[in-house]
């Protein structure tokens, strides 16, 4: 943290960057919030550590419009989101100075964050410089990422339905999952747009709960980097990432391995095709109908 802070201060001092997008110390060890620092005095409250679970990429969409460069601290998984935003022209690379910050797994009061338990790796997809340590490079549990999805797949349709009804019925439509998602960057979300025909504001019936989460997941299909923020922020503890991961798993299996946020502005699985693609009927042929 000291190294990052020192580097940020020097970049602020020499005018390379106009501001720093990082984290600010709060009330206790787990309380830190994303914050913007524009001078040395403000940097006094800068913090980076195991409390920095939030993905700052999303803020870059807004911050990219500010004048001058913004320094942003991104963890390895956050850089995937940032790069995906680059692909979608939602951020300008030149507007940011990216410090890739090493990460040993982020925590909250209950221990290691769920998203960190299925860490996708320690490589940075985009950066100007990397500041990390040996222990930050240690590999983690990538291979377990699909375990829970598989568990659900192996249930019967009725069990799956019951499972998701149980989970989704708790949804209060606070939109935290949508608003935190770095892939959900629509200027106007279809759910807020009276012209879209699907505008809705409350989980009035179980259909609306389903609808919101189906469309939310579908809209980010192929663009979701599996950063896990949706589940982290859900005040109702709904495992939303399991919906996204299912789509990722299917796309990998049917259309070849793909990780959003890598590559060079390539097409996502849903904006490309091959003539030999599986027919939709393949869904009907799977077990556990």
């Amino acid at each position: 943290m000291k190294k990052i802070k020192a580097r940020a201060l020097s970049l602020l001092a020499d005018g390379t960057v106009k501001r720093v997008l990082g984290w600010e110390r709060g009330e206790d060890a787990f309380d830190c919030s994303p914050a913007l620092f524009e001078n040395e005095a403000e940097m006094e409250r800068f913090v980076y550590g195991t409390c920095a679970g939030a993905n700052l990429s999303k803020y870059c969409v807004k911050m990219g419009k500010a004048e001058g460069k913004t320094l942003v601290i991104l963890k390895p998984c956050d850089t995937l989101s940032f790069r995906q935003l680059l692909h979608e022209h939602r951020v300008e690379r030149d507007a940011f100075y990216i410090i890739g910050a090493g990460c040993t797994g982020m925590m909250d009061e209950n221990g290691l964050l769920a998203k960190c338990a299925a860490c996708k790796g320690k490589e940075f997809a985009v950066y100007d410089e990397i500041i990390d340590t040996e222990e930050c490079r240690l590999p983690t549990g990538t291979e377990k990422r699909m375990e829970q999805v598989e568990k659900l797949e192996n249930m019967t349709a009725q069990e799956r339905f019951a499972f998701w009804q149980g989970e989704l019925s708790r949804c209060i439509r606070c939109n935290a999952c949508r608003n935190v998602c770095p892939a959900c960057t629509c200027i106007k979300c279809v759910f807020d747009n009276p012209g879209s025909g699907v505008q809705s504001k409350a989980p009035v019936t179980d259909f609306e709960e389903n609808m919101f989460h189906i469309i939310r997941a579908y809209h980010v299909a192929g663009r979701c980097t599996d950063c896990g923020e949706c589940s982290r922020v859900c005040p109702q503890g709904i495992p939303l990432h399991l919906i996204n991961r299912k789509l990722i798993k299917d796309m990998n299996e049917l259309y070849g391995d793909y990780q959003a946020g890598l590559g060079d502005n390539e097409r996502t699985p849903l904006t490309s095709f091959t003539k030999e693609d599986a027919e939709p009927g393949i869904i009907h042929e799977r077990g556990n109908g």
Binding site: L152, Q158, I214, I215, A278, I283
Partner: protein, 146 residues
């Protein structure tokens, strides 16, 4: 029309691309090939025009089955539309299945303008499948019931 003991008849929405499947449906008509009146067709320019929102909308409104028909892969009037549709629908159907919605309520079938018989056969089969599944209860908005 299939009618159950309770008087329930399935509601089936069929999205047909203008160039192949809608023409195929017309051909089925010209050939006087019977299929249940439960099927109502919506004409779209291409299967790639079918937004997942439309499918969910149909279910919301009480449809019991939704079928999307397009040109055979390789024959799309717009060259690639049905290839995109194929991926989109595969992913959507998989997601619905994952959430526990009956698979049989959704289907994609490629029907060319020459395949009137296939169109009729497909519709007969699909209605039969949906009929067996019964009323759509998992993915409809109860407010839309009379």
């Amino acid at each position: 029309m299939s009618v159950s003991n309770t008087g329930w008849t399935p509601k089936i929405v069929a999205f047909c691309c203008n160039w192949c499947s809608y023409a195929g449906a017309d051909l089925a008509g010209s050939g006087r090939m019977q299929y249940p009146a439960d099927v109502k067709i919506i004409r779209v320019p291409c299967s790639c025009r079918v937004n997942p929102l439309f499918i969910l909308r149909a279910f919301e409104r009480g449809a019991d089955g939704v079928i999307i028909c397009g040109c055979h892969p390789g024959d799309c009037h717009y060259t690639s539309g049905n290839y995109y549709a194929r991926r989109r629908m595969t992913m959507l159907f998989s997601l619905l299945d994952y959430l526990g919605i009956e698979r049989g309520r959704t289907r994609v079938e490629w029907v060319s303008a020459a395949e009137g018989a296939k169109f009729a056969k497909t519709m007969n089969e699909f209605v039969e499948t949906v009929y067996t599944l019964g009323e759509n209860r998992k993915l409809r908005d109860i407010r839309c019931r009379k």
